[in-house]
């Protein structure tokens, strides 16, 4: 926390700056002071050196804001987890009766202006050993309960609700006209702003904004975390909570999200560019991809400290060079490795690559529907890859439950990428189980076609799209590079073994000239 005092210039006593600032950390500063700041990395609210050991019960989570709004529990105590994301800590709630509360919070803090901003980093789902990932989810939960409504006041899964700071809850799909449901697994940033409007955000993407007219601002006497003993307790983790008794300015709201994004390695929303996008000096496409992963791009294949991964070591982040969004893998056994220089099979070209060993290594794309428009089937994916003698594999899982674009020999291929239900028993004879190659997947809502090509040669064409918002925009399904969509378990039989050199995913159908440019670019770059 810092206070910038008035300064004096010459003989004038006119203060040049009078401002109070709150330090989120050494880098990020906001102009508003929170009334509550819970940070599991500083569990007692004052010094991380006092943190308990991993797995200890939490009797008190101390307020870091300086307002002494500590949260406590005598009996049903959650568990301290020392390293959930990038070494950042969290508090694990068991989904049964674990809870932390401050029973007189609203007696001590002034919310009479009927404004509030609350930002939470949480993870629905837990594996019971302090982890999360494949096989974990919680579809009905609450992070923070702020009012006296009977049911949960927070957001939850298949039918969304919210009643934070309200006398009754808003419910179901009316929360989001584009049906981007609250995530049911994997970490995210949940935010609620209450002023003249009631606004909800996931990873800074606004999912609801409506007038407070007809709604009543209300709080309970206390506030609790995890919802234990109440409706829809959380089975998962809470890492950080920031609560303000004001409507946070856009600048401060953005700063808080920047701080949390960097700290936890979470993607936050920004609008995808609609300007033309240069693939290289000779080729460009009409608009920027949603994700562009390029193993040859420096400072994009990263460990958890955001440093470049050296040859042969494990990859935590693959940073997209279009929007700076991450594909991520925090589970040790699933991290692919970096190959700094490989002569691509069937060519004399060398390239960097990520190697997936065929045992389940993959990188996850957490909630791409929050970073684009997943209400339509207009999508394009390009993957440049090389199977390591693998004749049955799932390469890019994005769409149909537990499925992907699955290559098999003869007519045993399946196509699930960008589809609600996969095409079965088709031939992808243009693809092969060895050598460097390229696959292009074009899902076109307007033309009602779903085409797959390899280096510009049609493999499957004129098959209708199979788009389902509830599948492709689902809160449950986790897209993967190098595997099938997780739901939250996975189809494990056809894990990809081989190298992935580059991936482009467009939140749109590219033009015919774009298609030519993409093929020309990949052939020139990789010699395929």
């Amino acid at each position: 926390m810092s206070l910038v005092l008035p300064t004096f210039s010459g003989f004038s006593h006119t203060p040049s700056v009078v401002a109070a600032e709150y330090d989120l950390d050494a880098t990020y500063v906001i102009s508003e002071f929170p009334v509550l700041h819970l940070d599991a990395n500083v569990l007692d609210g004052s010094d991380s050196a006092n943190n308990p050991s991993n797995g200890s019960f939490v009797s008190t989570w101390g307020d870091k804001s300086g307002n002494n709004n500590d949260f406590t529990e005598a009996t049903n105590q959650p568990i301290f987890r020392s390293s959930l994301l990038r070494g950042q800590a969290g508090v694990e709630f068991d989904g049964s009766n674990d809870i932390l509360s401050d029973s007189d919070f609203f007696s001590n803090e002034d919310f009479s202006a009927e404004e509030a901003t609350m930002i939470v980093v949480g993870i629905p789902g837990r594996d019971g050993t302090g982890g999360f990932g494949v096989g974990t989810e919680d579809s009905t939960y609450q992070f923070v309960k702020t009012s006296n409504v009977t049911n949960a006041t927070d957001s939850f899964g298949t039918s969304d609700y919210s009643a934070n700071f309200l006398s009754s809850r808003l419910n179901a799909q009316a929360l989001d006209s584009t049906y981007r449901q609250t995530p049911t697994s994997r970490p995210f940033i949940n935010a609620c702003k209450v002023g003249t409007n009631y606004q909800l955000f996931t990873n800074k993407r606004q999912r609801l904004s409506r007038s407070m007219t007809g709604l009543t601002f209300a709080t309970g006497s206390g506030i609790s975390l995890g919802g234990g003993g109440l409706n829809f307790p959380l089975s998962g983790y809470i890492c950080e909570v920031l609560l303000f008794n004001t409507l946070l300015s856009d600048d401060d709201f953005n700063t808080v999200h920047d701080y949390l994004s960097e700290k936890y390695g979470l993607n936050i929303y920004s609008q995808i560019s609609t300007s033309s996008y240069a693939l290289d000096e000779s080729n460009s496409v009409s608009f920027a991809p949603q994700f562009h992963f390029d193993a040859n791009q420096s400072n994009t294949v990263l460990n958890s400290s955001y440093s470049n991964v050296s040859d042969g070591n494990d990859v935590y982040f693959w940073k997209d060079k279009s929007n700076d969004w991450y594909a991520i893998q925090p589970t040790a056994t699933r991290q692919p490795s970096f190959v700094s220089s490989r002569t691509i099979g069937g060519t004399s070209t060398t390239s960097s690559a990520l190697y997936f060993d065929g045992t389940g290594e993959s990188l996850e794309l957490w909630y791409p529907q929050w970073f684009g428009d997943y209400t339509t089937a207009d999508k394009t994916a390009i993957v440049v890859y090389e199977p390591d003698g693998d004749t049955q594999f799932e390469l890019l899982g994005l769409g149909a439950s537990s499925s992907a674009l699955m290559f098999g020999t003869g007519t045993t291929s399946y196509c699930g990428t960008f589809r609600g239900s996969r095409l079965g028993g088709v031939s992808l004879s243009q693809l092969s189980g060895t050598n460097g190659q390229m696959v292009e997947i074009y899902s076109d809502a307007t033309a009602n076609t779903y085409n797959i090509s390899s280096q510009g040669t049609a493999a499957i064409s004129q098959t209708t799209t199979s788009w389902s918002v509830t599948t492709n925009g689902s809160n449950r399904y986790i897209p993967q590079l190098g595997g099938a969509t997780l739901s939250p378990s996975e189809g494990t039989a056809y894990r990809f073994k081989g190298w992935i050199y580059e991936v482009l995913i467009f939140d749109n159908i590219v033009t015919s000239s774009d298609k030519s440019a993409l093929v020309s670019y990949a052939q020139s770059k990789y010699g395929i």
Partner: protein
């Protein structure tokens, strides 16, 4: 990669986590619980723990060699 088939996921994972100093900034967890889902398999409903035999997360030295098995695609129900 080898695999350990076990009914006691938590104990075996705790052993691996201790040996590899997990959780850490490098990884949240070693693996997540995964079960044999093929109801006709003799190990149905037991946990499958992948055991790395090389690299940063090598931990096969923690187990008896005879307890480690190769990948078995019949662990899983056919999709």
């Amino acid at each position: 990669m080898k695999y350990l088939i076990t009914e006691d996921f938590e104990t075996n994972i705790a052993t691996i986590n201790t040996a590899l100093s997990l959780p850490s900034i490098e990884a949240t967890n070693y693996c997540t619980p995964e079960r044999v889902t093929n109801i006709e398999h003799i190990d149905y409903d037991k946990f499958i723990i992948p055991v790395k035999t090389e690299g940063r997360w090598k931990c096969d030295q923690l187990f008896n060699t005879e307890d480690l098995v190769d990948f078995d695609e019949t662990w899983y129900s056919v999709l």
